[in-house]
Amino acid sequence: MNDAYGPVPRKEDARFIRGQGTFVDDIALPGMLHGAILRSPLAHARIVSVDATAARAHPMVVAVLTGEDLAKRGMAWMPTLFGDVQAVLATDKVRFQGQEIAFVVATDRYAARDALELISVDYEPLPPLIDALTALDPGAPVVREDLPDGNHIFDWSAGDKEATDAAFAAADVVVECDMIYPRSHPAPLETCGAIADYDAVSGKLTMWSTSQAPHAHRTLYAAITGLPEHKIRIVSPDLGGGFGAKVPVYPGYLCAIAASMETGRPVKWVEDRSESLMSTTFARDYHMHGEIAATAAGEIIALRARVLADHGAFNAVAQPSKFPAGFFHIFTGSYQIRAAHCEVTGVFTNKAPGGVAYSCSFRITEAVYLVERLTDMLARELGMDPAELRMRNLLRPEQFPYTTPAGWQYDSGDYPRALRLALDMAGYDELRREQAERRARGEYMGIGLSFFTEGVGAGPRSQMDILGLGMADGADLRVHPSGKAVLAISVQTQGQGHETTFAQLVAHELGLSPDDVEVVHGDTDRTPFGLGTYGSRSTPVSGAAAVVAARRVRERARLVAAAMFEVAPDDLEWLDGKWRVRGDPDQAYGLDEIAKAAHSTLELPGGIEGHLDASAVYNPPNLTFPFGAYICVTDVDPGTGEVTVRRFVAVDDCGVRINPMIVEGQIHRGLADGIGIALMQSIVFDDTGNCLGGSFMDYLLPTAIECPSPELGQTVTPSPHHPVGAKGIGESATVGSPAAVVNSVVDALTPFGVVHADMPLTPGNVWRAIQGRPVRTDLAIG
């Protein structure tokens, strides 16, 4: 039996290459209406009145909903994923540019758009709070007068403050830096949207929607609409990317539901790109002050961080509820450190809500960026090579499982081996020689390293929940009489290839071909409950559930096979994809024969009622900890500030790789993310709160030109607690790559005395850094 793991071609490709995918906007239902949202042009204003009379009179407009209309249904406000509230349609105030004011429903998309201009809104402008650094100043505009603490959301800390302060006091060298991780946006190519179809006769709501977490959405909709949960069906069809953008519940979805209830017809709402960039979940926006303490010999002894987190107008972060700053306290990184302490303060501003998205692994992107920048800056301060400094301080394999000063238990890893491999692949010493030669000629190349550890696969449920829903995921495995299997899972692919990799997981356990396993996902009527796909949790959690279910099936098959052979179950062993009699391996039954028998007239053993089917809910005992070593080579033109990424070497360890082809594809993407985030992507605001970067003309995404052909390497350190030793890969490269790019550019600019420059390193920002007058990159240039 061939091992089902490996670069198996993807089953989902057949429809996509023919243009036969089914994305939400591809769906048209009989009688379907189209919705469009009127959005606030102002960042902060009182709503004096909303007059939709002219819009309602438009011949093709069927309905217009305002905040007042929704309030009558108890739907004007909705809970966010973090226990705050968010306006569905504004009633009292608008709190960010782009906030939803009214919902027009018309017979076609174009008429809906036209009718938006027929709604007249009277605003009383208020001074906006845009600069997060001023949010807690006395006299700052108050974004949330509905909450008791003004613009202050939370304070949170982790680590040992006393021990850290003592370590800093005793250190030979301390390097500190202010750095911004700018606001960006996941920008999946397909925007968000939904078709809501409420059938008043049956009382059932069916939603086709772009959701990475259909079951969680169903539970939320039940709470918001009052409809019982068993009368709600969420179908997430093909998704054109997600990257965290499709985790939250957005006002547009609820407007579509309300409109369908109101009109008795299906209502489709799909956002356009500017709406997406301006109002759906942004990512990052952390203002960080980091400090690193070391001995003169280069031993890192302590880390300290103080962070101001800009959450926008509502606290809508999609992350486990006990962690208001996500997993930021993984900021001690991959190093042996004596002590660490971090403090994070969250504030409201007059900007769109969000913060946790875009492959951030719940703020691990921010944490890794901080520690890897500080490490490079420390190397510079010490006059030490940054690779050497890292090698000195990396955790050693014998130290695992390792508990960090902030409380994480890393499961497994051989870090020095990964770094060594990356350095070899890059030809590091040769690169340094080349750099020196070029510098002598007035050419500037940079070599940037990044070593990251991330924690994925949340769970366990006792520690990790979203709105009280424990983060565990289920799998239901059915085996048909012919031995073909159907696996229903709760996670939702947005391109990661679940239809293939999950089939491989099950096939591997049951001696099947992946072609024999059909994966069902995305439909809450057909799949078990689970918290969805984000935080790289599909393989670690849902994958584990699938494996556990498959092993349960296999054990049930053992019992049936034993009955077929008329032996005791222990007389059988599983070998090469079949149950075989010990000592007589040619006496064997495969799953197809056993399934047929289970459905036949055979006298079944106790515990088997007539099939092999099994379910599992996997509650992960811990996160898994993928890691990697990245090296980025850039060339910088100091005359223009232009940066060219010449090479990107990436060594990743995600434990056992089920489908290496798919794993590598995920890494390719994350490296491109790093280039985009480091060099060109950001959403900035001017001082009146206008969101600049509300289109792809200004929110620039990397193309095939900016991304070099990546050079990938791997090490495999299985996770000791995952059923097949896999760790998850989806976010790793996005986590590790930005620091590599920034470290590279700063390294190139060392001769100019540049010690740090904030992302995005656009040509202008690079040039200003060289001049010693860096730009504050989260605000528009006045």
């Binding site: 290459i17 023919r18 998704l239 790109r273 391109g495 993407r669 991304c707």
Partner: protein
């Protein structure tokens, strides 16, 4: 206004508003949903189709401009059920993940190979430089196009009608 457009070899006559974008005409009127849209500003290229044998961003063309002309979309590439080598290439080389940018990439790639049968990797990257992919980092898209270049004309696809 009444327009007549030939799409994938079939004539369609329809009355449309002058402002109707070609991408919406294809998707919403003709129900050819293989071409997609992903932005408002002609940047992303999810909407690339051929207009008179030339790749265009169909979100930036009015349907009325296509009156009397030929359109080819991804749905029109396969011949008699046989995939175009470019389509096969994307599946073979893992050149797609979510599939949303894929039809546009395939149409541009097919046109490139029709005009430059042996492109360099740099030429492939240049050809798709106006189209965004958020999933693949482009590497496997480039590999797919190069694979298609090597296998173009294999498997009887050169036995054209």
């Amino acid at each position: 206004m009444k327009i007549t457009v030939t799409v994938n070899g079939t004539d369609y006559s329809q009355v449309v508003e002058p402002r109707l974008l070609l991408i919406h005409f294809l998707r919403d009127e003709l129900r050819l949903t293989g071409s997609h849209w992903g932005c408002d500003t002609s940047n992303c290229g999810a909407c690339v189709v051929w207009l008179d044998e030339t790749p265009v961003k169909s979100c930036t063309v009015l349907a009325v401009m296509a009156d009397g002309r030929q359109i080819t979309t991804v749905e029109g590439l396969a011949r008699g059920g046989a995939l175009d080598p470019v389509q096969e290439a994307f599946a073979t080389c893992h050149g797609l993940q979510c599939g949303f940018c894929t039809p546009g990439m395939i149409m541009t790639a097919r046109w490139l190979l029709d005009h430059n049968p042996d492109p360099s990797p740099a030429e492939v990257r240049e050809a798709i430089s106006g189209q965004v992919c958020r999933c693949t980092g482009y590497e496997n898209i480039v590999k797919s196009v190069l694979w298609a270049a090597k296998h173009d004309g294999d498997d009887g696809d050169d036995a054209d009608e």
